[in-house]
Symmetry: D3
Subunit: 334 residues, 6 copies
């Protein structure tokens, strides 16, 4: 089992039930989540030793975050309490042709307002196998751009592997600004979640034409640009409607390209955190030193299962995911 | 922006949740709606000045109707309070192969029992662009047959355009009785919602054979019979199951036939009011003097969106519908 | 109308809502059901005189069972009160690719612990047309293996027809043990629910190759082995996902094979009790002396409808099922 | 055990949850009830043989009524199906100083519109010990005034005892009209639920001054006026707020006056049906030939318990009520 | 009927159900409210012409605010759309000995960030009878301190009466800061909600000893200090527990002191907005030129009723309040 | 901060909502709890290092137990997974005069069936300050009687203090059997929760007459009998109804008797776990070496707060309890 630190923001999601609009909602479902927290919870469910580093206000919402993480066995030893508020966002559930709709209310959060690495970095990174970060954190503020770089450098000094999920959000920064920052980060990264869009717009690669499995080409280009990166991964998601997607996992590892089988997700219960469940599946495979094809199949199955439950995080164990992979779609055992 | 009056009955719908039968229900969802009220709400959401003329009892249910309409910005200046009861109906939600099932309990309602036009008709119709009525109102009573005709004549005197939705309901009157009444009304109508069934059974046209897009032919026949009508419109709905329909909007305007793209509605949250959302989309296009193809695409998109929310009325604004038309099915913007 | 006794265990099912896992559930839906009780309720809904014979604890849960059965008109004159507990099971609702997951907690129940036929068997079986049993009962204990045989013999002495649903559950006994017991029972059976799996593994028949409609062959073999059995029936279910199945009913009667039309069940609300609704449909056809094709169409429609409602039992009447068969999928009548 | 017929109207109650007003409700709780049905259910829970005679529409709501009654073991052999609608009423739950608020919508119901006694009266009253009626039924229509008298006369011919609950409702008829009708009925009554208000305003007795336990005096006067009546009973209810009442049961029997101990009901869950539970308790005591003090204590305890559960009817058994009487307020047994 | 403008912030309240803590909540009830908005809604329910002036973000939450106000007939002609966010706060429901607990998250809201009076003040104040403001608005920012003064001066120039609710909140500003600001405002105020605490700590009056009805003395002192103020009012609330309060309204008018009868509020459904309902009751009395005692009784009854419903605003009409005053606690009319 | 091990059974509680009976419930609330687990959670909320030792099945319900404990920071390092089932019990919520009603279904649970101390006792008890046990565990089986003694002896060898809550349950064993076992345990106990009933019936002491504060006398007798016990504690609970109790904490320490102030708990949300919250408060005081009066006030406040939240365990921190003690009943801070 590995020792992993994930560092990032965690927010309160307030969402409506299917068929109810935000402007007509009389109550909201409450879920706590964030990419790095979600990855951490999945890895804890896979029996790794996981620490989530973040900062939340010292009030009932901050305590709810702690309870949420602890309930899945994630250590909150490095969860700081302080600052003014927990970032929130409102989500109107999508269904059929109508996509989900999101209102962000995350500015001025305890985490976004951090200006120094308030953790004891020595303790935080001691004997850690992987530090997982995402492109959302440097997008939060100028301070965080610098802090993320500083954090990565300290981790490198402790021989910690860097896992980085580009996770570009157009509502947080421009492609230009994102590109500049991410290009500074990638030379230190070991495992990278990146897709075609990231390659084209953030990393400035050129569009490849003429091949169906076009991801191979982008992965090759990225590998050339960043030979330090051991593997690239992302999912290919076909959106038929808000309620039905197909999902294929892709992995570039050891200079080869791998794809999972196709998962038909219909109906989707909650797609938030689907990508994080995939990332956690990949990192689990790395920590367990599995074969590439095994890794990508497991990660994609983990992601597909996530879409069948409410909430941001995936509550499934390794045994449950493997038994799901063996059973076939919708088969019940009585 | 236009000024519109819609006049008709509004009822309380008591419906079960998916998978629950009426005979086993321990609670009911409450929604207020009626074709003309629903059209009014949509048009108010599209920023027109809308008045809903009706009559409801002077009790908490009547007041709930007022609050419902006001919440969407529909004026209830012409909503009368009096009479004995609010019409109700019970709806067992359909799902998959099992269709929804309805029990009407609308007899003796405050509106149905009206015997005179209790409104100050001068004030009601002053500077109004469109008066929207439906075939449900004359079906309610002998009095209402006469009152509808009277109402249309006064409107005509005020140079108000008449919008009429045939909306035939077999549980209210026979095809024969409906046909007689509607044929008296149509010579005064400017905009008419009518489909193939209306043409055949109500208006006594003959079935056309040999063409896929058979609606053209019916529209042509109707146009010939009622040259006063500026446009005809209706939707072509393919019912795959109670949970999945496809929808195409059709429009006959300026002696030409227009069809919208196909909307795949799967799953359907609530189909009640889908036709009213379409009608409102058409009337909006007329008031805004849009092109025919734009009108029918907008109206069909409005109708498709309605199917994704609970309740009888469509809560979507022009901006939301146009952004939906631009985005494609189920695409989320983060 | 016929007089029917169904005898078996009834349990409390505690299930989660879609998208909620057992380990994260804060409340459970409560439903009471069991194969024989479900068949009984359907037959009572079809206006037959039905008695359910079982044993439940003399506490609020036992009384809830009584109220459940009485509410559908099933007589509980032969429902015994005593013993220690009501068997329960927990069900995590499946959705999309993720199947439902079940935890049984049924050991030591009032019914399973029975060691004698505590009913007055004379009264129980007097003028009864059909006694319906299933393979679950003899699987519960050594005592019940003997009691089931004894029960069947008394019934035969009273010229009661025996309906038997093999209903093999791998969590209760091995195929070997089940096979030995069931082969002792079948020589006394008149109507038998059995599928390909039962033929192969329980009854030791050999696999047939080369024909699409392979059930014919198994039914022929079973008929040869047990010429006393008047008819065999089962459904062919194709599981696309936990949310979407197709269903075809099959029937072997008068040495001929019959199949129903195909029912597409999408989405499925609750599949528990789908087989029992089918069995009840078949037994209704027998009691009413319908044609074979009519019987299998009715039974399959009854089963398809059951999948659209929550709970273990089918609440549909003969009129509702026939009207459903006439209407076509999802068509609403207004 | 006795054999009892209760005859009257049953309605659908649509009520809000505490703190929600009718005009702002998005869903309603559904309960079925009516005085005579409630009395019948209690008596069935007390193990008597009970038949409820009424008429409901042949639709899902009528079938729900049947399931409701059957679930408590009340026979619906004499429940007629037909007519147009089920009477309904809306109830805004009261709390604290704010009383509950009710909107009746019961006109034109299947029962109210009856003009003949559609039951086979011979079968209905055969070997019946008690026929229970209330003053609500003759208030429904002129027809019902005559039918009630006719019904009572037939019952008398069959030596059936008449139980009559005056149950005056000012929203249904005037005190004058009620008084005239009820004075015709009382000479045939054996057991009568009547309070001070009934004595004063309906029966024209004069107000008695100078005694705290003033009910004695009214009972004495009533006894003198109607010597045929074996016993009178009613509750003295002190309304502190909508959430807290105290309740004392009173009984006039064998020319003596009896009172129960005081029940403090705080908080009240649902007061609808509290009087019916009391009546059923009295009738049970009569059927079981209990002592007067025992009867009134039991009936008042039954009524007090009713106030602790949602719904119109009392679900408590004799054992539960007696164990409640023995335990003292709020004591739990672990 | 009067014409009233209320101006202030409106927020989204996210609250838990009774017995659920914020840190363990899986969903939140959503209510929109703010002192000035609540006063406005009550006055609209009392049939006055009411405008609410505020600023909310142009997103679904802002639109929900609009729908909320419109549903009660408050005009949102002067509701501005813009800025970044809607202020929110989280409320853990109190019960029994445990008080409610609140987390404010209102900084940086669209309203709080305003730096100019963005309304067309001429239109806003034209022919307005009363402008209602509270001490919360100047507490929001330095800008708002100035804007409130400016607003009051413009109103005075238009001969609009100023209603001011001191409404001191220790979490927003210190007593010293509040006192300085409020002492600048009071010379322009016509109707003032102020209690003993306001007199002592904000206005620097000295504590009076020796009289039970001590409020008289404070009102006298305040009247001397601010002879321009026509009336002072506040409630005396005795908190027995979070679930039970007693409430007495007080009013100083025409140099005399008035008190309402005592309202026992037990249980309390939702105390938020109780003070605003009282203020609205007072303003209604002024607009209608009622007697002092009538005013304070009506206002206190309005406030007591508010405590019986969920949400920030009082949905009661004049008729409902008067009928409540006439009926007595918890009496139901059937 | 101290290090504490609590050892005992944890069960799933399935309970109804207020006003709903078990026999009519359509869903159940799910809570996990047990005396020793509840004490452990409270102590973890008070920032002590807590381990819960027990055994649960290796299925979703067992995993839910783990998540529940972890969410409050209790270590599940010593939670064993295995055996057949999780003990359950059903609870019908009490209200007003009607007490809660419980059906136990706990036999054959994974914990009850244990026959050896399966933990590594060295690791379990290493450097532990307090081991907390209750009288429920030896009541479960003959094996557990022996295992509890063995466990206590090993703890004593490790110089671990023994906390013992007598917690007599008449449904598990007789007073005679309990007395014999408990008298064997008490000579090893350091901190003992025991009340008058325990003194009289289990420990064979004689009833004391003539003194209001009779608990002093029993504590004195118990102290004489078991001079090894450092302190005795229990609550005096007056049950006014299921919804309203008063609570006083009592403590015998250093040969003196202490009582807390009176807490009025009205309404009670959930009384389950009230005693455990009190015990945890006492143990916290001991670990923190507080004064006796401080200890009993804190413990009683903790218990009173527990009654205001749903669920078996108390979620309150030291800060929250102390702030509650300072504030007074129902006072809110804005």
């Amino acid at each position: 089992m590995g020792k992993v630190v994930t560092l990032g923001e965690i927010m309160l999601r307030l969402s409506t039930e299917t068929g109810i609009r935000l402007s007509g909602a009389h109550h909201f479902q409450a879920h706590y989540g964030g990419g790095e927290a979600n990855v951490g919870i999945s890895l804890a469910n896979f029996a790794h030793e996981v620490y989530f580093a973040s900062k939340v206000p010292d009030n009932a919402l901050g305590h709810a975050v702690k309870r949420h993480l602890n309930s899945y066995g994630v250590s909150t030893k490095h969860l700081l309490f302080g600052g003014d508020r927990l970032g929130t966002y409102y989500m109107e559930a999508g269904v059929g042709e109508r996509a989900a709709s999101i209102i962000y209310d995350r500015a001025y959060s305890s985490f976004a307002e951090m200006t120094t690495l308030e953790w004891d970095m020595e303790t935080l990174l001691e004997e850690v196998d992987i530090l997982h970060l995402s492109g959302i954190t440097p997008a939060l503020s100028k301070s965080w751009k610098a802090l993320v770089m500083r954090c990565i450098q300290i981790a490198k000094n402790h021989e910690v592997k860097i896992s980085f999920d580009i996770n570009y959000r157009g509502k947080l920064w421009s492609q230009k600004e994102a590109g500049e920052t991410i290009r500074q980060i990638l030379p230190y990264v070991d495992f990278c979640s990146a897709g075609k869009m990231d390659a084209l717009y953030l990393l400035g690669m050129k569009e490849y034409k003429g091949n169906e499995d076009e991801l191979i080409d982008y992965y090759q280009q990225m590998q050339k640009a960043y030979p330090n990166i051991q593997l690239f991964y992302s999912t290919k998601r076909t959106v038929h409607s808000a309620s039905a997607h197909t999902l294929v996992g892709t992995l570039w590892m050891n200079e080869q390209y791998y794809e999972s089988c196709v998962h038909v997700m219909d109906p989707i219960v909650d797609r938030v955190g689907g990508g994080d469940a995939f990332s956690a599946g990949i990192l689990h495979g790395i920590l367990e030193e599995k074969e590439a094809q095994t890794i990508v199949e497991f990660a994609t199955a983990a992601s597909a299962l996530k879409h069948t439950v409410h909430g941001d995080c995936s509550p499934f164990s390794v045994e449950e995911i493997e038994s799901f992979m063996a059973a076939g779609s919708g088969k019940i055992d009585r």
